[in-house]
């Protein structure tokens, strides 16, 4: 096992440490709550000479991502971060690095979307960027925020991947919380991320054209090539997580299970509420209930195989969304249902929406969802239609 020290670190600072240890060349970012501490710490690192990087102060998130695209094409290792409305303003440009195969790394301090104005956490910003073609993963605590950010560079820049990667850390719940975590010594990280070698680096001696125009005779071929390449990144993601685990002792998986042995009921969560959900599972297990927890670590590409495997013996799957897909219910619940549709044996899926705009989800909230889901399943079996319930909302 490699040498590490236990430190108290804010989630934002943990991300900044990973960006420093990755020897990032270019950072282009615009401050927005609750991401601000990440950029503040990075600009301090650059100013103090702790990190030899170009910090580009841009005038918007749209420009931040545009600068990242250019810098990445020039062969630089690139980082940005944003949240909420900032990610939305960046949206147009987010498709560019994924379709141009530029391995930009971004951390999102997840935040609700206006209106009404909210700076607090939910997953509306994340769900609005589901389809951008970036590898997307979620952290549940500050340790994972650090580990996954470091891994994101290696995954994105893998010559068999070359896609941008996004790490979601829940705004405030991780970005502003200090907790104990293990931080590897600088020399222990050395070599974990190989040199970035982009095959078509912008070079006056070897001119190329990037981001070209594609009429109908070639655009579908471009998208097919992108989709096939994107879907086949999972082995490389697994390879990096294994290499990380072998080096630092912490192993990650696309779908992570907690107390799922003989579980008939499973709760599915994503992000920072997952550890609180574990406490709810512990309490229910102590009462003799066959419940377990599944967390989606990898969100894109969607880990179909691992997910189906995780729920194959489950009778009721309770899905928590921290986002509303208006007119459609919870987006994660919809995707989970579609992932199971063709399966011969599949659980009942009951969706809940909670934790919007920074509303805490407590242990009782998870217990309520599980109890309520069992009632809803009885109603489904009676042939009744079930609506997605928003928990903890005052009538």
């Amino acid at each position: 096992m490699k040498k590490e020290k236990v430190v108290g670190l804010e989630g934002s600072f943990a991300v900044a440490e990973a960006v420093r240890l990755a020897n990032t060349d270019v950072i282009a970012a615009y401050p927005i709550t609750p991401q601000t501490h990440i950029v503040e710490r990075l600009s301090e690192m650059v100013a103090e000479g702790e990190l030899d990087a170009e910090f580009i102060c841009v005038e918007s998130e749209h420009t931040a991502m545009s600068a990242c695209v250019g810098a990445s094409a020039a062969g630089a290792r690139v980082f940005t971060c944003t949240a909420g409305q900032g990610l939305e303003l960046m949206h147009e440009v987010l498709y560019i690095p994924s379709s141009m195969r530029l391995p930009v790394v971004a951390v999102i301090a997840n935040r609700a979307l206006s209106a009404p104005l909210s700076v607090w956490c939910d997953h509306s910003d994340m769900m609005a960027v589901r389809d951008i073609g970036w590898i997307q993963m979620l952290a549940e605590n500050n340790q994972q925020a650090f580990d996954l950010t470091l891994c994101a560079y290696r995954i994105a820049e893998d010559s068999d991947v070359l896609f941008p990667a996004m790490v979601h850390i829940d705004g405030f719940y991780l970005s502003h919380v200090i907790e104990d975590m293990s931080l590897p010594e600088d020399e222990e990280v050395a070599g974990f991320i190989p040199e970035y070698e982009y095959p078509f680096t912008l070079d006056p001696d070897k001119p190329v054209s990037m981001g070209c125009y594609a009429p109908p005779f070639i655009y579908p071929e471009a998208k097919k090539a992108q989709e096939v390449a994107f879907e086949s990144t999972i082995p490389q993601i697994l390879e990096t997580w294994k290499a990380f685990g072998d080096r630092f002792g912490r192993y990650y998986a696309p779908v992570e299970k907690y107390r799922m042995e003989n579980a008939k009921i499973a709760l599915l969560t994503m992000g920072s509420c997952s550890e609180t959900a574990m406490l709810a599972i512990d309490e229910l297990r102590a009462k003799g209930e066959d419940v377990g927890l599944i967390r989606l670590r990898l969100w894109r590409p969607f880990p179909f195989k691992e997910f189906r495997e995780a729920v194959k013996d489950v009778e009721v799957l309770v899905v928590l969304d921290r986002c509303v897909s208006f007119g459609m219910g919870g987006p994660v619940c919809s995707e989970v249902k579609s992932a199971l549709y063709d399966q011969q044996k599949k659980p009942h899926v009951v969706g809940f929406i909670g934790g919007l705009g920074g509303r805490d989800i407590l242990i009782e909230g998870f217990e309520y969802m599980i109890r309520s889901a069992l009632e809803k399943v009885k109603a489904i079996e009676r042939g009744e239609e079930i609506e997605t319930e928003m928990i903890g909302v005052r009538e």
């Binding site: 236990v6 430190v7 108290g8 609750p34 700076v119 607090w120 956490c121 405030f172 719940y173 502003h176 919380v177 200090i178 907790e179 104990d180 920072s272 509420c273 550890e275 609180t276 574990m278 406490l279 920074g358 805490d360 989800i361 407590l362 242990i363």
Partner: protein
Amino acid sequence: MIEICIYGRGGQGGVTLAELVAHAAILEGKHAQSMPSFGPERRGAPVFAFLRVDETERIKVRAEIKEPDVLLVLDPGLLGVGDVVSRLKKDGMTIVNTIKSHDEMKSKIEANKIATVDAMGIARAVLGLPIVNTTMIGALVKATGIVKLESMEAPMEERFGKVAAKNIAAMRKAYEETVVS
């Protein structure tokens, strides 16, 4: 696990207090989590910071503290703002910065156990500033033993640099003067 709510005003340093104690606890090999009450910062507005410390187990709960074991009040004026003391656990403790006598406070606050100290007086005398957050760490440590007093020095030196010595002196003075019963 011990759960502490720090009740102060925006700008008084309640969040810094929670962070410093969390750092000290982690340096002692404990698990700790400090969490501000999320949102915009408004000077003078009543605001909570939250601190959890556990000797052995990793802290998994990630939400505001509803029923603290300890309520640490940085500003006595806040005792009348909102119904904070009633949120305490039954055997919980209130620690207050006050110029009043311990007995007078004891009769005023409905809590099982209280600790009092004139942190403002100490801060003015030792720091020359009316900022009580580091001083109140002395009271917290005396009343709860959540960390060793010495463990506070390294995080304070890292955070405050040149002015750390004065803050440490103020903390130590408060530790000596805090009355607990």
